[in-house]
Symmetry: C2
Subunit: 84 residues, 2 copies
């Protein structure tokens, strides 16, 4: 059965995130002081085959651990649902 999963990978709050800082700096240079923080993370869309929702979640969790995120610096949230 096909399942789709979304994985959001974000730097931990304690880690400086350079891409967002660059965007913030660019906004400040344009004279816009209303943006207080910008942080850039990854949004990963996955399409997979699995026997059931639980198996799909397990596969995606393992993929996220192995290839998608670095637990020292990043947090990761996963949502899995049946693909219509």
């Amino acid at each position: 059965m096909p399942y789709k999963a979304n994985v959001v990978v974000r730097y931990k709050k304690s880690v400086l995130e350079p891409q967002g800082q660059a965007i913030l700096l660019s906004l400040r240079e344009q004279g816009d002081e209303s943006f207080l923080d910008v942080r850039v993370g990854k949004y990963i869309e996955i399409l997979l085959e699995a026997e059931n929702l639980q198996a799909a979640e397990e596969k995606v969790r393992k993929l996220a651990e192995d290839l998608l995120h670095n637990p020292v610096m990043e947090n990761c949230s996963i949502t899995v649902s049946q693909d219509d």
Copy 2:
């Protein structure tokens, strides 16, 4: 008033997304054929000051157009809510 916004930037379906392809290739090399597609996009978290929700949405929409996404290759979705 503080608002938080999330911007998800994704490559259009018609555009080859190399990071996701690399992950998919790595999974295939490990012998896992159950993953059908992987696409990597950006997830941007923004904290900003604005007078009201409409003004906040307008600011974030302009930021997304100017700095966060390339409309030729990418789609962009924005959600804005009051920061608690």
